[in-house]
């Protein structure tokens, strides 16, 4: 059992928490919280992969771009959420069932 295995095990728990939140919650805000937690897990994966394979500079160069992407994605999600609230008057995902088939 080495340090790397323990780190990734804990990261797996983090990602599981985020996914559980996305599956269990009805509120769009909470789904975004879950999404954020999952993406934190993915970032930790990339940095620890870089750290353990002696590639940390490369990993950091990648991670800075990832953070920029994450900000825009979260801003988009929140904008859609606010728009949905204005149009449908709700932030509840399970009420989104206008289309079936």
């Amino acid at each position: 059992m080495n340090q790397f295995a323990i780190d990734w095990y804990l990261i797996a728990l983090l990602i599981f928490t985020g996914l559980y939140c996305m599956l269990a919650s009805r509120s769009l805000v909470r789904q975004l919280v879950g999404l954020e937690i999952v993406s934190k897990g993915a970032m930790l994966c990339v940095i620890s992969a870089g750290a353990y394979s002696n590639n940390i500079v490369f990993a950091q160069a990648i991670l800075i771009t990832m953070i920029v992407i994450e900000v825009v994605v979260v801003a988009t999600g929140l904008a859609l959420l606010v728009k949905n609230f204005r149009v449908n008057g709700s932030a509840d995902v399970w009420q989104l069932n206008g289309m079936k088939g």
Binding site: G41, A42, A49, S53, F58, I69, N88, G98, G101
Partner: protein, 476 residues
């Protein structure tokens, strides 16, 4: 990054940044700028690929690996049709009109980035940009259905991104690099593949979710049905194909499926492709909404591409890429025609439509061409790509797969004939009675694309020589 094609990324980006300032107070200028940008790019690309000297030389002069150039041309063609259609479709005074054109141009730039990327992380960035622009495009018209589709797409697409990033981490650790070339060299060597294939499989799973293959297809019909009408053509024709299916095909060529280096992954991919063909075709049979039926048909056609990519032999990859191009042409025609029908009658519910043939002859006949191409009726282009895929399966000894693929091709014909009968033939319904053919500019994109379908089918020997050149470059 393919430097020769960089201009096709930068110029749309520049136009997108100019439009909000230049078109302030002059709405029509936004239409003109977007159309001129895309048309100029398209003419340039066609000159690059179809000069007589290039054709005579068997396309050996094409720069890069050939695949990028082909797909950039398809991207520009579909996007040009969509913006041309939008210029007459979008109502005057829509508050986010300038942002709409800017977003289409940014998505064209992002797609060009996707197909010219030479590194998995770069690929991931551009796919993310593409996803972000498509959410906003889907909900352009502020309808509740559009927002619903956009939100469902959003919530399924980002867990897929996390999978891709996990794959990137594993690949970085075990391969030491993320470039396509390194992966390709590694897979050609005799080193045991081990976790490199595991990392690739994680990424592949993410791309499969983004392309809407069968077990992960829940978001596709909602997003296509709910999307603003011209946007659904853009989305179904090219966006989801580039953001998911292209990546799968590219990875299939890099992982060298044909020499059995990643046997398990290849088998899984083929199974998913087959499931997707079946699920899409059977679900399409019992739809009542025109756009939703087209969406399920799209899932079924993606299944053919994934099946061929999973097989991974040169012939199968040629078939996969050609079917990708054909899918872009015929789905654009069908979705643009559904938008025309919606504009003329105000509905896309097939039970309320009927007898549109006399009211809308052009729309009806371009639909016939597109759906015959989808179903694989010779000599249209869709016939050749399906033939190549089925031949490749037969050649590889997978006769069962070949027979099932052939059978579901007839199911495709069945649901399309059903659709044509309900919408265009038969008795005139109340909704159709008042309808008239839409104006000529709205028909032009569908006619142009139908001409492309016929031309690609009739000039198949030239197309095949191009594709053979491309397969040689991406596999070796």
């Amino acid at each position: 990054m393919d430097k020769g094609l960089l201009a096709y990324l930068l110029i749309p980006l520049f136009s997108a940044l100019v439009i909000p300032f230049a078109a302030r107070g002059r709405e029509k200028l936004a239409d003109i700028l977007a159309n001129v940008t895309l048309l100029a790019g398209l003419v340039n690309l066609l000159w690059l690929a179809l000069r007589p000297s290039v054709i005579a030389g068997g396309f050996e002069e094409i720069p890069g690996d050939g695949l990028s150039l082909l797909l950039v041309t398809a991207i520009y063609l579909v996007a040009f049709c969509v913006t041309f259609f939008s210029a007459w479709f979008v109502p005057a005074g829509m508050p986010n009109r300038r942002a709409y054109y800017s977003l289409i141009l940014v998505s064209v730039a992002a797609m060009t980035g996707v197909v010219t990327a030479a590194d998995f992380f770069t690929l991931y960035i551009y796919i993310e940009v593409l996803a972000v622009t498509s959410f906003a495009l889907i909900s352009t018209d502020d309808s509740p259905k559009g927002l619903e589709g956009a939100l469902k797409y959003f919530l399924l697409s980002f867990p897929a991104s996390a999978l891709i990033l996990g794959g990137i981490a594993v690949l970085m650790m075990t391969l030491g690099s993320l470039s396509y070339d390194n992966l390709h060299i590694f897979m050609s060597s005799d080193v045991p593949a081990g976790p490199v294939v595991f990392g690739a499989a994680l990424m592949m799973l993410g791309f499969l979710i983004k392309s809407g293959v069968a077990p992960f297809h829940m978001w596709t019909p909602d997003a296509y049905q709910g999307a603003y009408a011209p946007v659904s053509a853009h989305l179904a024709g090219i966006v989801t194909k580039i953001s998911g299916v292209y990546a799968v095909v590219r990875m299939a060529s890099l992982l060298r499926f044909f020499d059995g280096r990643a046997q398990g992954l290849s088998a899984l991919l083929m199974l998913l492709g087959l499931v997707s063909i079946a699920v899409g075709a059977l679900a399409a049979l019992r739809q009542t909404d025109l756009k939703r039926m087209l969406a399920f048909s799209s899932i079924s056609q993606i299944g053919y591409i994934i099946l061929a990519a999973g097989l991974g032999t040169p012939l199968a990859l040629i078939g996969a890429v050609f079917h990708l191009i054909n899918h872009a042409t015929f789905k654009t025609v069908l979705f643009l025609n559904s938008a025309s029908v919606e504009k003329a009658t105000g509905t896309t519910d097939m039970d309320k439509l009927g007898g549109m043939e006399h009211a809308m002859p052009w729309t009806s006949w371009t639909s016939v061409i597109a759906l015959f191409s989808t179903a694989g009726v010779p000599p249209l282009s869709g016939f050749w790509s399906k033939l190549l895929i089925i031949l490749a399966l037969w050649e590889a000894g997978l006769k069962g797969y070949a027979v099932i693929a052939l059978l579901f091709s007839t199911v495709t014909l069945a649901y399309f004939v059903m659709m044509q009968r309900k919408v265009f033939f038969g008795k005139k319904s109340d909704a159709a009675a008042a309808a008239t053919e839409v104006s000529a500019p709205l028909l032009a994109p569908a006619v142009l694309m139908s001409a492309a379908i016929v031309a690609l089918g009739l000039l198949f020997p030239y197309v095949f020589s191009y594709l053979k050149m491309m397969a040689g470059r991406i596999i070796l």
